[in-house]
Structure formats: C-alpha cells, structure tokens
C-alpha cells in the first residue's frame, strides 16, 4: 500500500511513515513481539527438557499417557493430538487465504476465511480443554511411595494395564475426606480417591495375577515390570492412592511431567484463546468495512502473523511433548 488514510499523519516520518527493513511499523512491532514470545516459549520447552534429562530413566512415556479419542473407547495413542495439529495448520491456511484475499481487496472472501479461522481456533481450544479433562481425570489409578515414585499395575495374563477398580477389594471401612476443619488446619485432602490404600493393598494380595510396574524405563524403552515377589515387596513402600493428575500428584509418573503439561499447553492454549478473541475483533472490523475504508487489509496480515506464530509454537509443543 502506498498511502494510509486513517489519521493523516502516518505518511511523515514521526507518524510511522518510515519503513525500516521494508516493513511497516505495525508489522515490525508484531515481529518484535513474536521473537520475544518465541524466546519465552523456548525457555519453557528447554526447562521441560532440563527436567526430562534430569529424570531421563523414569520420565513418563507420552504414548501411554495420551491414549484417548473422544467418543471412542480403547487405546489410540496420538491420533487425537495429530488431529488437533491438523486443525491448527488448517486454520493457519484459512488465515493466509484471508490475508491473500485482503491483498486483493475482496471483502467477502476475507470475511469467509476469517470465520473459518475462528472456527478452527475454537475447535482447537475445545480439544485442548478435553485433553486436560481426560488427563486430570486419569484412567487406571496408581499408588505413590514414600519417595514420591509411582507404582502402576499390570495384569500378568493379558499384559495390559490394570485399573484399581479391576482388583481392589471393597472393605467395610468408613472413609471421610480430611478437611481443614477436622484436625490440623493446614492439612486437607484435595480429593477422595475411589479406593483406600488398604483396599488396594488387600485387593492386590488377593489377586495373584496382578503385577507392579515401576517408573524406571528398561533397555527396551518400556517401563520395568516387577515379578510377583518383587511386587509384594514394593507394595510395602506405598503410602497413597493417586487417581488422575494435578499439580501435586500424577498417576502417570513424574509430577514434573504433569506440571509442565499444564503449564506449557496451558500457556499455549491461552495464546490460542487470545488469538481467537483478536480474530473475532478483526472479523467484526472487516464486516463493518473498517479496512475497506482504510484502503488496505494490513491489520488482517498482522493478526495473521500472530496466529501463525501460535501454530508454529504448537508444532514444537507437539514434537517435544507427544513425539520425542
């Protein structure tokens, strides 16, 4: 675009008329923001790598953690995340198409493509919320030892993971959720698990075909399975039943894994969410004809840069959280 007509001062140097590096003021500032935000995300991902390298032998295997697909039962590792990645790339494509239509001043096309971009973003945020909910709810349940390690259960006959509900004994005991008002004021239970520690231990003793799986990764790249004797010995260390994951406990393994999952995907999800909000604002501006009157659709290009950046970050999160 050669001229801008919004304020009339944008042509002169101090009004932003100068174009260092051939990019307009707004675009350049968006790039500055993106570079700094990229460094923030790199900091998060590298600190994830730091924690992972620190506990390289016991880190959870992502394939075993994210195995669910909505409306389907069974074990489908990664399919859903791959779908989410595709949705985000797809919405990136509609965004570029919107920018392209903007260059050619085709208002209706820009409206259509922006709308599709917003829908894609909304699907992605919804999927992420679902991922979180599934992760928080957990699926098999586990025990935690004094040292904070996680013991999971495997059915020796089928070789598949055993849920606490599969073998725990229901004992005639009463359990009350510990609250601040009853007892020491700074101690309280976050949630009440479906089975007490005693019920799990009794059930384990009564079922000879259940084995314990520790966090340690063996040479085949799988979690170590203990023998029945070792399992019974290991069971003595257990102090707590854990179901699902939160910032303090994590049935899938290392707590840091859950912490980083919530933090990194949460921060990224917040970016997507704010991206959708900004896209909606721009969408209405297009409908109102703001950019038509301004004579160019550079604003679409600027939010487009942000939106692609969000996609770019997800590509890295996908690799380092789910694939590697």
């Amino acid at each position: 675009m050669d001229t801008t007509v919004t304020t009339g001062t944008e042509d002169n140097v101090w009004g932003g008329g100068n174009r260092p590096l051939g990019a307009s003021y707004g675009k350049l500032m968006m790039w500055f923001f993106i570079v700094s935000d990229a460094l923030t995300f790199s900091g998060f991902l590298v600190s994830y790598g730091f924690s992972r390298f620190k506990f390289i032998e016991t880190w959870p295997i992502a394939d075993e953690v994210f195995t669910h697909v909505p409306f389907f039962h069974g074990n489908y590792p990664m399919y859903y995340v791959a779908f989410m990645t595709f949705i985000l790339i797809m919405s990136s494509v509609t965004m570029v198409l919107a920018v392209d239509a903007g260059h050619r001043m085709m208002k209706n096309r820009v409206i259509l493509y922006m709308f599709l971009t917003i829908i894609g973003g909304a699907i992605f945020v919804g999927s992420q919320a679902w991922e979180w909910a599934t992760f928080i709810k957990g699926d098999y349940g586990a025990l935690e030892t004094k040292g904070g390690r996680i013991l999971q259960f495997v059915n020796a006959e089928t070789g598949e993971r055993a849920a606490l509900a599969d073998f725990s004994k229901i004992l005639p005991e009463e359990r009350v959720k510990h609250e601040k008002s009853a007892g020491i004021w700074y101690q309280e239970e976050g949630y009440k698990t479906s089975y007490s520690l005693n019920e799990v231990i009794q059930g384990f003793r009564a079922n000879p075909n259940i084995l314990i799986r520790t966090e340690t990764i063996n040479e085949e790249g799988e979690k170590t399975l203990l023998t029945r004797g070792e399992s019974l010995e290991k069971l003595k260390d257990a102090v707590l039943v854990v179901e699902g994951a939160n910032l303090i406990r994590n049935e899938y393994g290392s707590r840091l894994f859950a912490d980083f999952f919530f933090f990194i995907t949460g921060f990224h999800g917040f970016h997507v969410f704010s991206g959708v909000v900004i896209n909606v604002i721009i969408f209405f501006n297009i409908i109102l004809g703001t950019y038509e009157r301004r004579g160019h659709y550079e604003m679409v290009e600027k939010v487009g840069l942000y939106w692609h950046f969000v996609d770019l970050v997800w590509v890295f999160v996908f690799t380092f959280f789910y694939l590697v």
Partner: protein
C-alpha cells in the same frame, strides 16, 4: 507493501502459478510431514529406536528435524518471510536461533550432570 509473492518452494523445484495455489501446496506438504511423524511415532521402527546419534535415538532426531522443516515452511510461506527483505528475515530468525541454541546447550548439560549426581551420588530418591 509488497504484493508480489515468490512462488517457488523447494529451491525452485516446485513453482506455483498463484499465491493461493502455493498456500494449498504448502498445506499438503505440512500434512504429509505430520502424517509421517505420527506414523513413525506409532510404529516406532526398531532400526530407529535402537541406534543412537550424539546420545539421542535416531527416531527423535528425525522428529526434531521434521519439526524444524515444518517451522521453516510455516514461517517462510504462511508468515510471508520469503517475501520480506533478507535483512529483516535474518534479524528475526538468527537472533532466537542463537539464543535458544545457547540455552539448550547449558541447560541440557546441567541436567545431565544432575542426573549423574542422582545416579552415582550418595543420594536415595527411589524409595
């Protein structure tokens, strides 16, 4: 604002007739790369998981390289870096690359050191 787009990808191997066509072409390419990643992640071929390069499985190297390839095409074609001046492109790309490489280097080395302390030091954490 530059209206003309560079319509070649793969160093001129593939030339598109219009910008819209290029966008769809890049989408197809990115989808193929993602599909390859997912397929490798599910099948985990033994050749790639048993062999190591610089202490990391070959499979993980492939994932990281494919990710960088995807990042390149998102930045170059979706974010229009291909059409910007090379000075802007270099400022945007090399600054973070330099800083991130440095960060990766120091933090991962430090983490490996702590791993060895946990492993060989007189410290019990698995009980």
């Amino acid at each position: 604002m530059a209206h003309e787009h560079k319509l070649e990808i793969f160093r001129g191997l593939l030339k598109f007739r219009s910008n819209t066509q290029k966008i769809w072409g890049v989408l197809i390419f990115l989808s193929i790369v993602t599909a390859v990643e997912v397929a490798l992640g599910i099948t985990k071929p033994e050749v790639l998981t048993k062999n190591y390069f610089l202490g990391m499985k070959l499979l993980n190297w492939i994932f990281i390289i494919l990710t960088l390839v995807k990042a390149y095409y998102i930045a170059w074609d979706f974010m229009h870096l291909r059409d910007e001046k090379s000075s802007l492109r270099r400022a945007i790309v090399w600054t973070p690359i330099f800083l991130v490489c440095y960060l990766i280097f120091i933090l991962l080395f430090e983490a490996d050191y702590i791993y060895n302390v946990f492993k060989d030091g007189f410290l019990s954490w698995d009980f």
